[in-house]
């Protein structure tokens, strides 16, 4: 991210304590953005109630460097977004044991390269002897099965990577 700006309501502030508090809140949020983002920002601007805070960091690449560097600002995000949108994980809804096939030795529900439709069963998670079907929540192509047959998975763990459905691919 290169610039983040959040605009609060424009009530003006009264007195120093108020200013101190507003500035403190802005600072904490800027700090949190800087410290807790998986990608370190180049700069952040945050303003609210007439107080504006902007900060930039030195070790960031071009974004902070201004006009001389022609940043391909249109293309890069679009590539990234496409790439982000093009694959998505299917995650475990429950903790349990992951099975690719209805029973030992049987054909897997899906294999890499298969096209799947929304609602199609792609695996089983066994929890407490209960066989819970894992269903696709959207159409797509199976790019990768991330968990081996019979392996334990936790809640939220990615099971499969899906790509765009055949028809939707560019």
């Amino acid at each position: 991210m290169s610039v983040t700006s959040v605009n609060g309501n424009q009530n003006r502030i009264n007195g120093i304590a108020d200013l101190d508090e507003v500035a403190g809140v802005l600072r904490q949020h800027v700090h949190a953005l800087a410290e807790r983002s998986s990608r370190a920002p180049a700069s952040v601007r945050l303003s609210a109630r007439g107080v504006e805070l902007e900060i930039s960091w030195p070790d960031s690449a071009q974004p902070a460097a201004g006009p001389p560097v022609p940043v391909p600002a249109v293309e890069l995000p679009s590539t990234t977004e496409t790439s982000a949108a093009s694959t998505f994980p299917l995650c475990a809804a429950t903790v349990g044991v992951f099975y690719r096939a209805p029973e030992p030795g049987a054909k897997p529900f899906v294999s890499e390269g298969d096209t799947i439709r929304p609602g199609q069963q792609v695996a089983i998670i066994e929890a407490m002897k209960l066989m819970i079907p894992v269903e696709a929540d959207r159409a797509g192509t199976v790019l990768e099965v991330l968990v081996a047959d019979g392996e334990s998975v936790e809640h939220g763990q990615p099971l499969l990577t899906l790509g765009p459905a055949e028809g939707a691919a560019r």
Partner: protein, 450 residues
Amino acid sequence: MISKVLIANRGEIALRIARTCREAGVATVAAHSAEDRDSAVVRFADESVQIGPGPAKSSYLSIPAVVEAARARGADAIHPGYGFLSENADFAEVCEAEGLTFIGPSARVMNLLGDKSSARAIMLDAGLPLLPGSRDALTSAQEAKELADEIGYPVIIKAVAGGGGRGMAVVRDPADFDRAYATTRANAQAVFRDGRLYVERYLDSARHVEIQVLGDGHGDVVHLGARDCSLQRRHQKLVEESPAPRLDPRIVAEMGEAAVRGARAVGYTGAGTFEFLVDGAGRFYFMEVNCRLQVEHPVTEMVTGIDLVREQLRVAAGEPLGFTQDEVRHRGVAIECRVNAEDPARDFAPTPGTLTRCVLPGGAFVRVDTHVEHGYRIPALYDSLLAKLIVWAPDRDAAIAKMRRVLAETEIRGAGVSTTAEFLAGLLDHPRFRAAEHDTALIGSLTVPA
């Protein structure tokens, strides 16, 4: 031998359990919800496993998720902490069936004591004093009313499946009885799926005093003295101390013996708490047994030097207790204050938010049990306990002075976050608390709307 414990809880108690496990050389698995994935216990434990989304129903309260997680990580025991699944006999039964050691009493004992009606009957038979009331569950409103008239008002109607302050109604006027009975029954049916009720005499001004017991599987049961938890707000304890102040040690000894007798009668193993009401004349009456570690267990640890979780592990592993009743030595006074993320000015409404400042107290004879730190986000999904502050001193006045210092030192702040720290400081200054003349009605009398 227990080699790996799955901790099926969150917050301060999950971390507290993990700490003792680490010290005992036992590996830990933190079972956590998606909401708690960045929590202190997840960082501290040897392993972690996400068992479900934020809501406790699908994570901390999900028996299949917890059991699967334990199996997946090869844990041989499960510590349920307090709350959540800790007093769920079904869960204990599933653990037993799955070959997992449930760290707590057996499912059989939990069933017997979880049913307040059977618990009353067992304790009555074991010779514990009970308030006048029904021995068994009532069968009709008619029978209930007749019993109430016989006992004399005020009476309290309680759900057999209730506990911890839920599912009860006080009736002062016989004319109100039938309506209160019907309402409590409907509530009990809805909340506990068990509409059975019982009735007993209600004490208006009583102290809540409880006895900590520990039983091993070798027939040994000991008690670790009393805790006074009379400072309650709507049946939620706020301040706890050990020993019980202004209570004749001979009465405490009698209560201890009664609790041990009751625990033996039911075959209790592990850590448990016998709750009693004590009236102004020093008479005590058995209320219920909590089949788990209590939130307030640290005050007992501070005065006895005994780590209760360490003893729970020992007992769960089939070992005998690390000491005998004669070896239990009490020293000084310990007080605990629960700092909650609540706003006393808005009827103790929870105040979730992110901590932008978090300075916890320290120094001599101060213990802090918490999972929060600078930058911690208080989730709106769970209970509001932020930190337990526990102090020890040679005498009660010194302990109160220390707690006042400790509360003054505590700074927990964040946008929208309030805590009960200041309210607690005010409570400690109340003349009736200073004089140890407080009872369970004190806070109610302070916080009733003007």
